[in-house]
């Protein structure tokens, strides 16, 4: 067992745990940050998505030894100064992007990464960005609407993909 140092939501932390302990467990159990959820434990559902140096990762698949020196961001760090809701969270609340809420923290982190990379309100691009995050409640419609709103507009669709042109190719 050795000590690992990294930051979580810009706060330096040091944990002395086995190197193969899942980042998810370190966050939830050792650091009491239970906002990050476990849905499958095998990297399929994305509920445990956090940002590792800005990149969305499934924290159930990341051993803590791999985050030495890294910057981790979780849902608890999304609100400005830890208070209220940030613009992305507010967009989810207003559009109905969160129902049961269990996929929401991971979905928010995937969306955060998309927006931080300059993501647009484009419907297809948003779908691609959250394709690794499963939601069983919403049909994704209002999640996409929320991310598009946070990106500065309603969801946009390219003309070739309009509903009256069913001859288009599969995505």
């Amino acid at each position: 067992m050795s000590a690992y140092r990294f930051t979580v939501n810009a706060v330096p932390v040091e944990v002395a745990v086995p190197g193969m302990r899942r980042l998810l467990d370190v966050l939830r159990e050792d650091l009491a940050l239970t906002g990050t959820k476990e849905g499958c434990g095998e990297g399929e559902c994305g509920a445990c998505t956090v940002l590792l140096d800005g990149i969305p990762v499934d924290s159930c698949l990341v051993p803590v030894c791999q985050v030495e020196g890294a910057a981790i961001s979780t849902v608890e760090g999304l609100a400005p100064d830890g208070q209220g809701l940030g613009p992305l969270q507010a967009a989810f609340l207003e559009t109905g992007g969160a129902q049961c809420g269990i996929c929401t923290p991971g979905m928010l982190m995937a969306a955060r990464a998309y927006l931080d990379a300059g993501g647009s309100p484009d419907d297809d691009a948003i779908r691609e960005a959250i394709a690794g995050n499963l939601c069983r409640c919403t049909g994704y419609t209002k999640i996409i609407e929320a991310i598009a709103r946070a990106a500065g507009g309603g969801p946009t669709r390219s003309a070739a993909d309009a509903p009256d042109t069913p001859g288009g190719t599969s995505r």
Binding site: G35, L93, D164, P166
Partner: protein, 825 residues
């Protein structure tokens, strides 16, 4: 919609005409989701987020046999058993029964007892840490004596429930029909796949009781199960709902099992025990949607009017009864679809197999039978060369029509309205004309061997499909009367308004719409109304959070309670409730109003004869789906869905749309990719890597349109929304695939394997009946022997016959032209 949060008058009689359309987009006045901020910041506490100092971790040792005698549970003497707690059936203080409709399911199989399904609980363990727990698991040996299993629901002789609905003279009507068409439809298991797995934590209390905290839909179901299994009284057993990450019916009955297990361990350990399922255990052991085999024989006139329906429904209940009789009942009542037909015979039975028990899942039997009804009607339309829209116009229920249980549909009948809205918004006829032209073009361009419809320039075939459904609002028959739910409203001594109900929030918006309704009835701001925790120590039994009943039934009770509270306060103070209630409470103390369910006027059902008003009202839904089918790979992409749902009265547009959108995607998954494969009664794909649900890339663009045909006997007109969209999505997608390819898929899901087989005109690979397991000794996936023989004399009309269900029409005497696969193209 009126702004319920600010208007000063209680909602009176509903004056919206049936068919009034609510805009499909959010309207400004709706309040924000009450618990939304907690969910969006990570502050919301789901079961596994709760911390109980000193808690141990629990685990379940399960059977690996589908059917066997439990001979012994051997504990390896090399392991230090003093370091853990072991619970067997011998430790159960009360009855070894999971309380439900029948008393057939044990909490743990006793020594010498019968194991009836794979993954059945046999022994429980708790340990202070996960490593010790893992070691203990490895030190338990289960010894069994195998018994012969039954996997085929058609062959099983153990019947959980059976119903027969009769109307008119079916045999005479068939004799007079212009066309008779038969078909057989099969649907398999579907996993609810809430993203939060089942999770319960039990905490022993000083009085010998237990408090369980968990992810669950129905606190009082769990409460009843704890009392019976642990021999506790009302106060010793306490159930507290944690934030719940989705349910969809999957947390209706199974949490009782987990709560009993956790409580037994906690009682013996004398400390809290956490029973948190991982995804594998959750899929392998907990309930699924019932597989079903539905056979239709339908007589119609030349102009497409239904004159006779003979329908047989067989559901696979799995190893224990659970809620199967009620699932079957709803499935049977909905089996004819929302159509007028004077002569109907519906025979339904659910049988026992040695597979894990099936249970509640959004739609509760109706999605299975309505998929069959809708697909069959579409095939009738095709046989008659009628538009799917036109045949529905000619048969859909209108006010004054009578259902097979003898229920006269008086008001709130919106089948026509949702049908026309969906056809219009989905541009159904225009797109259908386009795909017909494309099919005609392909037909002349020559086929490539092995891919019959593929041509050089045309890999993707597009199609559009239509489906219509009804869904009974609330409990079936006399269920609501027997339940006699109570919802309460309390004005506390310090002037706070509290809603007291056991109705749970699991994503649908209970904690938002109930305060909305109460605020409207009291004439106070939304923010002034609070909702108490779903804790059986404090809230009355307002019934289970199921059957789309919360908005309609519990919402209605709360409006009644609010009106009485308002009258009391205003009568005492002479002022408005809003202006006087705080002072009144501080002066006179707390005031509580309990509102008990009373039957809706004029609504009655006789369980013995199965006649009467099966539901107080029905919701109506129509769906237009557009798909692309890859003719090389058989992959289906559902591009667009227009879903039109009549929910009686929209309480919160954003939440209601969210229900329609989410239910629609679950139905699309059911139609296209969600499938459980079994071998020897075990689910083969019992992980999220292998049981797949739609991602954002798989999901269609969904346009939700809400229709309001209010239910006059409810004070607010609401009929419920949760389950309705689940009934129509799958048949619309299957119709769209047929529109694209000319082939009908009668066996859900329309997987690439089934589509390619249908295109090639050969039986699908691994033609197993849903829910039936392939014996290990079977000749392999190509063997037609086992399951086909089970289908008996009707196998000629089954989807596994070489030309699929279409052959049935061609084989039927009296079939009109236009029934062969090529005709009408």
């Amino acid at each position: 919609m009126p702004d319920l949060t600010t208007r000063s008058e209680p909602p009176g009689a509903i004056v919206i005409d049936p068919g009034t359309i609510a805009p499909g987009r959010a309207r400004a006045a709706a309040p924000l989701r009450r618990e939304g901020p907690a969910k969006l910041t990570g502050a919301a506490k789901y079961a596994d987020d709760l911390v109980f100092p000193g808690a141990w971790f629990g685990a379940t040792i399960r059977s690996t046999d589908a059917h066997a005698r439990l001979a012994a549970l051997d504990l390896d003497p090399a392991f230090d058993w003093a370091s853990v707690v072991v619970v067997t059936a011998a430790d159960i203080p009360g009855e070894n029964i999971v309380s439900s409709i029948k008393s057939d399911q044990p909490i743990l199989v006793p020594l010498g007892g019968e194991i009836r399904h794979h993954a059945e609980p046999l022994l429980l363990l708790a340990a202070p840490d996960k490593a010790t727990l893992r070691a203990a698991r490895g030190a338990v040996r289960v010894r069994t004596e195998p018994l012969p299993p039954v996997f085929d629901p058609l062959a099983s002789e153990h019947v959980f429930a059976a119903y027969e609905l009769l109307a008119g003279d079916v045999d005479a009507a068939f004799a007079a029909a212009d066309l008779i068409l038969e078909g057989e439809y099969r649907v398999g298991h579907q996993e609810q796949l809430y993203i939060e797995n089942n999770a319960i934590i039990a905490v022993p209390s000083d009085d010998g009781g237990v408090t369980v905290h968990g992810s669950l839909q129905c606190p009082y179901y769990v409460h009843a199960a704890l009392k019976r299994g642990l021999a506790m009284d009302d106060r010793q057993a306490r159930v507290v709902q944690a934030e719940t990450g989705g349910g969809f019916g999957g947390k209706e009955e199974y949490p009782s099992v987990i709560a009993l297990h956790a409580a037994l361990l906690a009682g013996k350990a004398g400390r809290p025990v956490r029973m948190i399922y991982d995804r594998h255990e959750d899929i392998a052991a907990t309930t699924k949607r019932h597989p079903a085999i539905v056979r239709h024989r339908t007589g119609v006139t030349h102009d497409g009017r239904l004159v006779a329906q003979d329908i047989e429904v067989v559901m696979d209940g799995g190893a224990y009864c659970t809620l199967t009789p009620v699932v079957l009942s709803r499935g049977a009542i909905h089996a004819g679809g929302p159509y007028r037909c004077p002569n109907v015979r519906i025979r339904a039975r659910a049988t026992r197999t040695n597979t894990p028990p099936n249970g509640a899942f959004r739609g509760f039997g109706a999605p299975q039978t309505e998929f069959a009804a809708e697909t069959h009607l579409n095939r009738i339309a095709e046989a008659l060369d009628l538009s799917p829209l036109e045949i529905r116009r000619r048969n859909v229920y209108v006010p004054g029509d009578t259902t097979p249980t003898g229920q006269v549909l008086r008001d709130s009948v919106a089948g026509q309205e949702v049908l026309e809205r969906a056809a219009e918004a989905g541009e159904f006829e225009r797109l259908r004309g386009r795909s017909a032209a494309a099919r005609a073009g392909r037909a002349g361009s020559g086929a490539i061997p092995g891919s019959p419809l593929r041509t050089g320039r045309d890999r993707v075939a597009s199609g559009v499909g239509l489906a219509l459904a009804w869904h009974g609002a609330g409990f079936t028959g006399s269920g609501e009367v027997k339940l006699a739910s109570v919802a309460s409203l309390e004005l506390t001594a310090d002037g706070r308004i509290d809603i007291l109900v056991a109705s749970t929030e699991m994503g649908q918006g209970t904690k938002t719409i109930l305060p909305q309704l109460v605020a409207g009835a009291l004439g106070v701001p939304y923010e002034a109304v609070h909702i108490a925790a779903q804790d059986t120590a404090y809230v009355p039994d307002s019934g289970p959070t199921v059957a789309s009943r919360t908005a309609m039934v519990v919402g209605g009770l709360l409006i009644g309670a609010a009106r009485r509270l308002r009258e009391q306060v205003e009568g005492a103070t002479g002022g408005t409730f809003a202006g006087t209630y705080r002072d009144h409470a501080r002066t006179h103390g707390a005031l509580r109003v309990d509102q008990r369910f009373e039957p809706y006027p004029g609504v009655g059902f006789d369980d013995a004869t199965y006649r009467g008003d099966a539901y107080p009202a029905f919701g109506w839904a129509a769906c237009v789906a557009s798909v692309d089918v890859d003719l090389d790979t058989g992959e289906v992409h559902v591009r667009d869905v227009v879903a039109v749902d009549d929910v009686g009265r929209v309480i919160h547009p954003i939440l209601a749309e969210g229900q329609v959108e989410g239910g629609t995607l679950q139905a699309v998954g059911y139609a296209t990719i969600e499938e459980i494969k079994l071998r020897d009664g075990r689910y083969l794909n019992d992980r999220l890597a292998t049981y797949v649900i739609p991602t954002a890339l798989d999901a269609p663009r969904i346009t939700a349109i809400l229709v309001e045909a209010p239910f006059a006997a409810a004070p607010h007109g609401a009929k419920g929304v949760g389950e309705l969209p689940m009934d129509v999505g799958a048949p619309a997608v299957i119709a769209a695939i047929a529109d694209a390819t000319g082939s009908w898929i009668a066996d859900l899901p329309a997987s690439p394997e089934r589509i390619l087989a249908a295109l090639a005109g050969v039986p699908a690979v691994a033609p197993l009946p849903p829910g039936a397991s392939e014996p290990a000794t079977a000749a392999g996936p190509d063997s037609a022997a086992g399951p086909d023989s089970a289908a008996g004399p009707d196998s000629a009309v089954g989807p596994r016959s070489s030309a699929g269900p279409r052959s049935a029409a061609a084989a039927e005497p009296g079939a009109t032209p236009g029934t062969s696969p090529e005709a009408g193209r």
